[in-house]
Amino acid sequence: MSRRRGRQEDRQAGPALRCAMTDQTLSGITILDLTQQIAGPFATRLLAAYGAEVIKIERPGSGDPARAAGPFPGDLPQSERSGRFLYLNTGKQSVTLNLKTRAGRALLLELAANADAVVENFAPRVLPSLGLDWPAFRAVNPSLAMISISNYGQSGPRRDDSATNLTLFAAGGQMSLTGEPDREPLVNGGTQALMQAGLHGFASAVTAIFGARAHGAGAHVDISIQEVQAAAMEGAGPIALVRGLDSGRGGNLPRALWGIYPCADGYVGCSVLDRNVPNLLVAIGREDLLDDPNIRSAAWRIAHNDELTAILMGFFVEHTRQELNEIANRCRVPFGYMPTMDELIDWPALREKGFWHEIEHPDAGSQTYPGRPFSIDGSGFRLSRAPRLGEHTDSVLRDRLDMDTAEIGALRERGVI
C-alpha cells in the first residue's frame, strides 16, 4: 500500500492537481473496474464521483456494450454518444485491454497488484475461464477487495441462466408486488433491479476496502441481483418467512391514506401515516374531524376504507397537481407531486442546491447529468465526463506500470491494447 501511495505522489501531474486530489473523500483509492453495461458501472460511477481513481478496462474495438445502447442524440448510434454509457461512466479512465491474450491478462494482474479493489459484473463463468478468478487476484495482492455482481450469484443451479433487468425483477420477487391486483405484474420504470445491485456494489466495495485496510486482508464479495431484491420486500418478505403468507399486488391504492389518486390535471400521491392524520385533515379542510377519535384508529380506518377513499377522491379531483404541491408544503402533509423529467430538471429546490451538472463531452456535446446523492461536510462529490474508448490506455500503462512508448507501441501492434 505504501508503495502505491509513493508512486502516485511521484507521478501525479503537478502540485495543483495533487492538491485537488487530496481534497476528495476517497483520495488515494484505486479501483480496477472490469464492469460493463449497468449494475457494475453504476457502482464504480459512485466510487469515482467521491474521489477514487477508477481505471475501466474495456475490450479493444467495441468497448463496453453500453456504448451501443443509447439513447443517442438524434437517435443516431455512435459509440461515444450513448446516454447510458456517458451517464454511468463519468469520472473514469478508459484503458483497452484484450483479456483473451496472455499479455493482456498479465497487465491486468500487474494493475491489480497496486489497486484497492477489483469490481466486475461478468457472467460468473467468464473470469475463471480466463484464469482471472479470486485466487489469482489474491495471489498478486493479498489486501485486494474484489466485488462481483452477477444475476444469480457465483454459485447455484441458476448461476449461468440468461437474464435481463425484466427477468431479474421477476426473479427477485419485487415484481410480484408491483402493479394492479387484477392485472399482470409490472416492472418498474428504468432498470431498477440492476440499479439496486449497483448501489450494493458501491456500498460493499467501500466496506471491503475499509476492512482490508483495517485488518490487512482482502476478501471477495459475491452479490446476487436476485438476492438483493428478495431481501428488500418491506413487510412482505418476513411475513412469508415467518407466517407462510404470500402478499399480492396492492395496486395504486392499497389503502385510502396510502396510494395514488387522480387529481384535476393528472395524479398525486398520498402517503399518510397515523402521525400525519391531523395535518391531512387540515389540508383537506376537514378540521371538523380533528377531535373524532375514530379517524385516529388504524382499525377504524381499515373498516371504513371506502368511505375515506371517497372523501379523499372528492378532494383531490378538485385540485391541480401544483395546488396540491403547495398544500403539501404549507400543511406538511406527504402528498407526492409526480414531476415529468423536464419538470424535475427545472425543480426549484434542485436548481437551488446545484444538483444538476452540465458536462461537456467532445463527441456528445454538453448534457445534463444528475448530481450528488450524499454530501460529506457539504461537499465531497465531483463529476467529470466519461472517457472515450481507450483514452487513458497510454497514460495508465506509462504512469502505473512504468512502460515506455516503444513497449506500449508493441502491445498495440500485437492487439493487446
Binding site: P157, N165, V242, P370
Partner: protein, 442 residues
C-alpha cells in the same frame, strides 16, 4: 510467520468488526442501512424511546402468537434489526440525552432519519455530537434536504419515488403512473446511506477527521433514472410508460401461465382480514438478440416464425410485439411458470417466473446458496430471515443474534459501555427515562 499469523487472524474478522454505530433510525430506510452494516460486523446500538418504539414493531405478527410482548414478535422488525443491540432511552429528557452523549463517546458513527429539524431540537446537533467525539461520523438521511427550499417537506418511501420521477415513468401503457410494490425509496436510500457512512469512515482512516454526512433520499432516487435524464437532455424526449415492454427489446413481457390447482393455492395476507388465496403464475421473457428470437420460436413450437421476414430484426419485432405477445401467451397458458422458464433457459432465452415472497422461500437457487438463515428468537420463536447480501469469501457473514426485544440491552449496554452503576440505571428506570415495555403516550 508473524505476517502469516496476522493474516490468519484477520481472516476471522468481518470488515466492520470494532466499528460501533449509534442508530436513532426507524421503520425501513435507516434500519435497512444499519442491517447491512451490522451484517458486516458493526456493533449497532439501536435506540428507541419509551413511548416511541420503532413503528414497525406493530406490523405483521400473527395475533395468536404474540403473547405478552407483541412488540417483540413483529416479523418486519425482526427481519431488519437482527445482529443489532436494542436499548430504550428518552432522548428528549436531559438524563436520556446525557446517556446518548456518553454512548457517542464510545462510538464511531451515529445515524438518524428524523425529520430535518429534530436532531437539533433534541440538543444532538452534529456540533454537539462532535464536542463529545470529534471524529464521529454523523449520518442524516432526510427525504429531501436539511436546508433550503425543501427543509420542511415530509415524505416517506412512496413520496420519494413519486417526487424523484420514478412513478411517472412506471405503469401500464394504457394507464397512469404506477406505485412500486414496496416503499422503494426506503431500501435504496438505506443501501446508499450504508455506503456513505463507510465512505466517511474510509476518509477518517486516512485523515482522522469526523464528518457530517447528508443522504438525500430523493436525490439518490433521481440518480437511478440516469438514462431518462440523458434522453431528455439529448433529445428533449419524455420517456413514455411502456408497461412491461422495452425501449428496443421485443418480445419483452409478462405472460400468464397455467394457474396452481385450487387445492395448492397460496395463502395471501390481507389487510386487516383473514388470509385470501392466490393461484396465479406468471413468466417474464426478454428477447435481446435475433438468436434468442429464433430459439424462442423453436421452444414455442413455431420455428417458421424464426425465419419469417416480418420478424427478422428487433425493430420488426418491436413494431409487431402486440401480435407476438398473443402468440407467446397462448404457449405459456399451457405450462407452469417453472416448466416454461426451464424450456426457454435451456435454449439461452432470458426468462424467469415471477417469484413471489412466498415462492422465494422455497426457491432452489436461493436454497442452494444458503440465502435464508435460521434464527432463534426468544419471543417470536424459530424463524428464517434473509441472509447477508454481501457474501464475503471469508469470513462468512452470519446472523449472530436475533433482533433485540424492546429495551433488551439497555442495562448491559449502559453498564458495559459507559460504566453506569446499577443504582444509576434503576434511577433511569424509575424516572421513566428507560423501560422494557412501550409506554402509551397520554
Amino acid at each position: 510467520m508473524t505476517k502469516l499469523l496476522a493474516r490468519a487472524l484477520s481472516a476471522t474478522l468481518l470488515p466492520l468488526a470494532a466499528i460501533r454505530i449509534i442508530d436513532l433510525s426507524m421503520v425501513w430506510a435507516g434500519p435497512f442501512a444499519t442491517r447491512l452494516l451490522a451484517d458486516m460486523g458493526a456493533d449497532v446500538i439501536k435506540i428507541e424511546g419509551p413511548s416511541s418504539p420503532d413503528l414497525v414493531r406493530g406490523i405483521g405478527a400473527a395475533t395468536a402468537a404474540v403473547g405478552e410482548r407483541p412488540w417483540d414478535a413483529s416479523p418486519y422488525f425482526n427481519e431488519y434489526n437482527r445482529n443489532k443491540r436494542g436499548i430504550v432511552l428518552d432522548v428528549a429528557r436531559p438524563e436520556g440525552r446525557r446517556a446518548v452523549l456518553e454512548l457517542v463517546r464510545t462510538a464511531d458513527a451515529l445515524i438518524e432519519n428524523y425529520r430535518a429539524d429534530v436532531l437539533d431540537k433534541l440538543g444532538l446537533s452534529p456540533a454537539e455530537l462532535h464536542r463529545e467525539r470529534p471524529d464521529l461520523i454523523v449520518v442524516s438521511m432526510p427525504g429531501f434536504s436539511k436546508q433550503g427550499l425543501e427543509r420542511d417537506m415530509v415524505g416517506y418511501g412512496p413520496t420519494i419515488e413519486q417526487m424523484g420521477g420514478l412513478v411517472e415513468l412506471s405503469g401500464y401503457a394504457d394507464g397512469g403512473p404506477q406505485k412500486t410494490g414496496i416503499s422503494y425509496g426506503d431500501p435504496v436510500a438505506g443501501i446508499l446511506a450504508a455506503g456513505a457512512l463507510v465512505t466517511a469512515l474510509l476518509r477518517r482512516q486516512r485523515t482522522g477527521e469526523g464528518a457530517v454526512v447528508e443522504v438525500s433520499q430523493r436525490d439518490n432516487l433521481i440518480g437511478l433514472l440516469g438514462e431518462a435524464v440523458m434522453d431528455w437532455s439529448m433529445n428533449r424526449r419524455l420517456q413514455p410508460r411502456r408497461g412491461n415492454h422495452h425501449r428496443w427489446m421485443a418480445p419483452h413481457g409478462c405472460y400468464p401461465c397455467k394457474p396452481l390447482p385450487d387445492a395448492e393455492a397460496r395463502p395471501v395476507a390481507r389487510l386487516g382480514g383473514t388470509p385470501g388465496a392466490a393461484t396465479d403464475r406468471w413468466l417474464t421473457i426478454a428477447v435481446a438478440t435475433d438468436e434468442q428470437w429464433r430459439a424462442l420460436c423453436d421452444v414455442i413450437g413455431r420455428p417458421e416464425l424464426g425465419k419469417d421476414e416480418r420478424y427478422a430484426t428487433a425493430l420488426d419485432r418491436y413494431e409487431r410485439q402486440d401480435d407476438l405477445d398473443v402468440l407467446i401467451a397462448e404457449w405459456t397458458a399451457e405450462r407452469t411458470d417453472d416448466e416454461a422458464e426451464a424450456l426457454l433457459q435451456s435454449r439461452g432465452v432470458p426468462a424467469s417466473a415471477v417469484r413471489s415472497p412466498l415462492t422465494l422461500t422455497t426457491d432452489p437457487q436461493l436454497a442452494a446458496r444458503g440465502f435464508y438463515r435460521e434464527v432463534h428468537h426468544p419471543v417470536a420463536g424459530d424463524h428464517r430471515v434473509a441472509g447477508p447480501l454481501w457474501n464475503l469469501s471469508e469470513p462468512r457473514p452470519e446472523i449472530r443474534t436475533p433482533a433485540p426485544g424492546f429495551g433488551q440491552h439497555t442495562e448491559s449496554v449502559l453498564m458495559d459501555l459507559v460504566g453506569m452503576s446499577g443504582a444509576a440505571f434503576e434511577k433511569l428506570r424509575t424516572d421513566g427515562i428507560t423501560c422494557d415495555a412501550p409506554v402509551t403516550r397520554s
